[in-house]
């Protein structure tokens, strides 16, 4: 990847999407030794509202730290899809949580659907890891970092008691999307 690659995670405040962005940036910048910048914007509320986290990954130093044309976007809620699924470049990808985003954003990009929250709740047993499911899914969708680097970054961030839970969540998200891509 010689040029900028831009990924946006969006959803509701409190869903852990800023954390997902941080983990991806750590995988790129610390584990893979690339350049990465993570930034976010959010409203004054601690929970709810639309929140977004952006990660830029590049082989060369990154000037402008915010997204210009987004290569890949995640939208966990309808509000975030309406607000942040714009600016996806032609040929880019959008992953939506199909249980929550009923009004699919239209554009020159490919839309992938997955019930992310439900997957976390039913198959892992904890909704709280939906952000890690989403992270695995986005890495599978984009190859922004290697699967191994992503997993290593996830495990470096979470408390010991939750290592297995998060490892499962990450790999489940990854594999579900790889199956979609087949």
């Amino acid at each position: 990847m010689s040029k900028r690659f831009e990924i946006r995670f969006s959803g509701a405040g409190g869903q852990g999407l800023i954390t997902a962005g941080i983990i991806l940036a750590e995988a790129a910048a610390i584990i893979e030794g690339k350049h990465a910048v993570q930034s976010q914007s959010y409203g004054p509320e601690a929970r709810g509202g639309a929140s977004k986290s952006e990660v830029i990954i590049s082989d060369s130093p990154i000037d402008y730290p915010k997204a210009t044309v987004v290569d890949a976007c995640l939208a966990m809620t309808q509000e975030s899809a309406d607000k942040y699924a714009n600016g996806i470049k032609k040929g880019g990808v959008l992953l939506i949580d199909s249980d929550f985003v009923k009004n699919e954003p239209k554009g020159d990009f490919k839309v992938y659907k997955m019930p992310i929250m439900r997957t976390a709740k039913d198959e892992i047993g904890r909704e709280i890891v939906a952000n890690v499911v989403a992270l695995g899914a986005m890495i599978a969708l984009t190859d922004a970092v290697s699967r191994e680097a992503g997993e290593k970054a996830v495990l470096a961030r979470v408390p010991e008691a939750f290592l297995d839970l998060n490892k499962k969540a990450y790999n489940l998200g990854f594999e579900k999307v790889k199956a979609l891509l087949k």
Partner: protein, 379 residues
């Protein structure tokens, strides 16, 4: 040996830079978007006997760092526009009493409560003039996470060396974004500590200019007793209204920063492709990153545009900007306010070329496209 690396927020890097510089006292009051500076230091300072105190408000916080510094501590506070407004009276006190301290100002929208979670660059004139009376100012404006670390270290060095408050001003974008940082090892960066008295307590005067424009500062609690006041004072620190003292002291306190030699020491900037530039961008903080992106894009089209990025914002790099003003056809100043540094560039260029402001205050960053469009219009 490989250096320790991490992915850090600008504010976190600021706290670690402060610790590297030897900061052992933080007095503050939380405010978005600066709070992470306090958060990190509240964890780290107690580990080695440093002191962290959350005061009743921003005024108390500023007072606490002045007091701590007078006992010899390297003292820091961090806030944002509205909080800095409250500190202004005591910033003036630190100026006239010549007390070293560092103030971090993380800029959001304004005036007043404004837009707490949105970015701004509208407190750069507050950094310069934000207290009454004639006074010199040192303010540094880093543009990356790594640079926030190194400029915080430099802020402490300059505060100690010139015996005065130094501000580090950066916008919410660089304060909150995360980048890879390499932690300097001890010894990699220079650390300056204030000059201590070379005379005993009986001979010591806190403003004895026979030692130069920056007299040594004794620490309270080490046997030295002296008077500290916000009034104009004589060399012994006691109030005076004698014209010759007052005039000489006021002039010295400005000269120590704005004199020729000091300027060379304090001023710092980065130029990118300015040698053959016919259009110059003047930008600082996060906006300088948009500007650099714009320069790269425009150069691909053969447009000769360059970037001047002040890292020391105050004192203003007058000589170099004046020279560049004679070289280029126009200077464009993008900033997240309605033309604050634009005025300063205009003042220095003295009509040698047009100076064009790109101001933005809607809570969104100035993107490269906006700058590119303006350059093409000028060309």
């Amino acid at each position: 040996m490989a250096k320790k690396v991490a992915l850090l927020q600008g504010n976190e890097a600021c706290a670690h830079g402060a610790l590297y510089a030897g900061c052992n006292f933080f007095g503050g009051y939380p405010i978005t978007p600066s709070t992470e500076v306090a958060e990190v230091l509240s964890n780290e300072l107690p580990k080695f006997g440093g002191k962290f105190i959350q005061m009743e408000d921003e005024i108390g916080a500023m007072a606490s760092i002045i007091g701590a510094s007078l006992t010899g501590a390297k003292a820091l506070t961090a806030s944002s526009g509205p909080g800095i407004s409250l500190k202004q009276e005591l910033i003036g006190y630190a100026c006239i009493a010549e007390v070293p301290c560092v103030i971090i100002s993380v800029m959001r929208g304004g005036p007043s409560t404004g837009m707490p979670t949105g970015p701004g660059q509208s407190d750069v004139m507050q950094a310069k003039w934000g207290t009454h009376g004639d006074h010199a100012t040192i303010a540094l404006a880093p543009a990356s996470v790594q640079e926030i670390f190194t400029e915080t270290v430099r802020a402490f060095n300059l505060a100690e060396k010139y015996r005065m408050p130094v501000q580090v001003v950066y916008d919410e974008i660089v304060g909150h974004m995360r980048e890879r940082i390499e932690f300097p090892e001890p010894g990699d960066l220079e650390i300056i500590n204030r000059a201590k008295p070379t005379v005993g307590p009986d001979k010591y005067k806190p403003y004895d200019t026979s030692f130069g424009d920056v007299p040594p500062l004794a620490a309270y609690g080490t046997g030295y007793r002296y008077h500290v006041t916000g009034l104009n004072k004589a060399q012994d620190g006691f109030p005076t209204t004698k014209a010759e003292y007052v005039d000489a002291e006021e002039r010295r306190q400005i000269r120590k920063v704005e004199g020729e030699v000091a300027r060379v020491d304090i001023e710092k900037y980065e130029e990118y492709l300015t040698d053959d530039a016919t259009i110059l961008l003047f930008a600082y903080g996060s906006t300088s990153r948009s500007a650099r992106y714009a320069v790269n894009e425009l150069r691909k089209e053969g447009i000769k545009v360059g970037l001047f990025r002040p890292i020391t914002l105050w004192p203003f790099p007058e000589k170099r900007i004046a020279a560049l003003g004679k070289q280029v056809k126009a200077i464009i100043v993008p900033e997240l306010n309605l033309g604050q540094m634009n005025l300063e560039v205009e003042r220095v260029v003295k009509g040698a070329c047009p100076v064009i402001s790109i101001g933005r205050v809607d809570g969104e960053p100035i993107n490269p496209g906006q700058i590119i469009a303006q350059v093409k219009e000028v060309k």
